[in-house]
């Protein structure tokens, strides 16, 4: 990379420096996207401003009745349960596929090329579709069941975990592995006693980070009819019950913040 930059500056005029080109591309792309908006009609619809006012003032008259709070707590639990169950299934997808996809389990070159190729393609496919789209497809395919939500979460998350695990398993320092190999250990043993223990803290730390994202994803599973905080939010919004909307929003924010703080604490200790 360094050699390329120096060659660039030596031969080309400075006008075409790669970063400058990038700036131009980014600006052009943003202007293009602005041109795609419909500028002829107003952006704010009639009554939009007053709705915003009502919504903002509802924050100061929060609905904290026992009914709402009970619903909020049980919806929060549903959301957490979907997230955690989805993540456990994602681990079952991510760990084996990540290990195979990293290509460290075998030395035979053609097995390596074909197995890593197939698993990496599978992982890329899993994570290219958003969890809510998966959820909708699963609900259409197998019916309205919490299992659909868990599967829908597990597939894209498994795809992401698998990719990151594969990278972490590859990035392990070589020297300790070489010393294992010199004692006659097979690639499988090297993986089990060398790579995995060394990569494990980072793998765990990334998994905990994903838990926070999982909570948010689980909250929107309700859109296709699976309960949780998003479901209650949607009902409250349909009823224009802004006070309740705020209660559920604050529960969601609180939940995400708690998990965020927890996972940050775990990650800080793991990286020490």
């Amino acid at each position: 990379m360094t050699s390329m930059t120096s060659r660039d500056s030596a031969q080309k005029p400075k006008l075409l420096e790669s970063r400058r080109v990038l700036t131009l591309i980014l600006l052009a792309a943003f202007i293009w996207s602005l041109l795609n908006l419909d500028w002829t009609s107003g952006f704010i619809h009639s009554g939009g401003i007053s709705a915003m006012g009502e919504f903002a003032s509802a924050l100061f008259s929060l609905d904290l009745s026992t009914d709402t709070l009970t619903t909020a707590i049980s919806a929060s639990w549903t959301t957490v349960a979907y997230a955690v169950a989805g993540l456990t299934l994602a681990l079952l997808i991510g760990i084996p596929l990540g290990a195979i996809g990293s290509g460290v389990l075998t030395k035979s070159s053609w097995v390596k090329v074909s197995s890593t190729g197939v698993t990496r393609f599978t992982l890329a496919f899993f994570r290219s579709i958003h969890e809510l789209v998966w959820a909708w497809l699963f609900v259409a395919a197998i019916g309205l069941s919490p299992i659909a939500a868990v599967l829908a979460l597990a597939i894209p998350y498994g795809g992401i975990l698998g990719r990151i695990y594969a990278e972490l398993l590859q990035d392990v320092p070589e020297a300790p592995l070489q010393s294992l190999r010199s004692t006659g250990a097979s690639e499988w043993r090297v993986f089990w006693y060398g790579r995995l223990p060394m990569a494990l803290p980072d793998m765990l730390s990334y998994t905990f980070y994903r838990l926070e994202c999982g909570i948010r994803s689980a909250a929107i599973m309700s859109f296709v009819g699976l309960g949780g905080l998003g479901h209650e939010l949607r009902i409250a919004l349909d009823d224009l019950a802004y006070q309740q909307v705020w209660t559920y929003l604050l529960f969601l924010i609180g939940l995400v913040v708690i998990v965020d703080v927890w996972s940050t604490m775990v990650r800080r200790r793991l990286s020490e």
Binding site: I25, N36, G42, G48, I129, L132, G230, I253
Partner: protein, 293 residues
């Protein structure tokens, strides 16, 4: 095991002991959570007329797949008609525009605020002086990042359609707000991890807070910021279809309509376009990331 370690190296054990307990405590909590979640999920499923683990599910799944592929239907599947490809292609184009607009909004928001969310700039080593005002700004900005980040894109969209008229804009704003929080947090952390020496050199020449930001921090932080921008764009293109479910515009709206009218071959065609979009954005982003380095 701990006692053996404790007798051989007492000081070291006393030092590492709380760290081990916290991780261990977290692991046990996680195990309990996992068990409880699975009990909950499987029990909630038991309330259904048909168990999910039965031939009934398998048959439904098979039916759905053949619906998607247009098997057993008399009409021509949508993905076999050129006109359908052109119609949905336009929607894919709109979704792409929405994603670019969203990342643009997120970038503008994050670039405006990220320096004020960096602890070292506001009250640490890199601040010329410490005052309650900048301290308050720091906590306010961090709070803003937390709230925008904690609310998922789809819920932002559900709120925003009360104010903005349907179209690409509400979707882009919803995507932009959520990602602004993420980008803001990430870029504040870039500033907190920067090499301090160039900035201290600048400070010693008498540069003020804003001069340090523009001439010291920005040039150092910008390349990594742009890298993060592209990573988020890859996520945004995947989510752009989802906010389209509520805000009119792009693939998402058509996806929802086709699903509710049982036009499953159109759903399949939309999914094909979706995958094409995701793949091309991934490739473009990884190319542009190389330019940024």
């Amino acid at each position: 095991m701990t006692t053996i370690e404790g007798t051989s190296r007492p000081t070291a054990t006393r030092f590492t002991w709380p760290r081990v307990t916290f991780i261990r405590f977290s692991m046990i909590t996680m195990m309990v959570l996992i068990a409880a979640s699975w009990v909950f999920v499987l029990n909630a499923d038991g309330a259904q007329s048909h168990s999910i683990f039965s031939m009934h599910t398998v048959n439904r799944f098979k039916d759905f797949l053949s619906d998607l592929l247009g098997i057993g239907s008399s009409s021509t599947p949508a993905f076999a008609q050129w006109s359908e490809w052109r119609l949905t292609g336009h929607l894919a184009y709109q979704t792409l525009a929405m994603s670019v607009l969203a990342i643009g909004f997120a970038a503008i928001f994050a670039l405006t605020f990220f320096m004020f969310g960096a602890r070292n700039m506001m009250m640490g080593d890199m601040a010329p002086y410490s005052s309650w005002f900048w301290r308050a700004v720091f906590f306010l900005v961090r709070g803003l990042f937390v709230v925008t980040r904690a609310i998922p894109e789809l819920i932002w969209a559900m709120l925003i359609i009360f104010v903005l008229s349907p179209g690409l804009l509400p979707g882009a704003v919803a995507l932009g707000l959520h990602n602004a929080g993420i980008l803001g947090k990430l870029s504040s952390e870039i500033v907190e991890g920067l090499d301090q020496r160039p900035i201290q050199a600048l400070r010693s020449t008498g540069a003020g807070r804003f001069q340090v930001m523009v001439y010291g921090v920005l040039p150092q932080a910008l390349p990594r910021f742009v890298t993060y921008l592209f990573y988020r764009w890859e996520v945004i293109i995947r989510t752009a279809i989802v906010v389209g479910f509520v805000s009119a515009g792009g693939l998402g709206t058509e996806f929802r309509l086709s699903m509710s009218y049982f036009h499953f071959t159109t759903v399949a065609l939309l999914l094909i376009w979706y995958l094409i979009l995701v793949l091309s954005v991934d490739i473009t982003a990884s190319y542009l990331r190389r330019l940024a380095r």
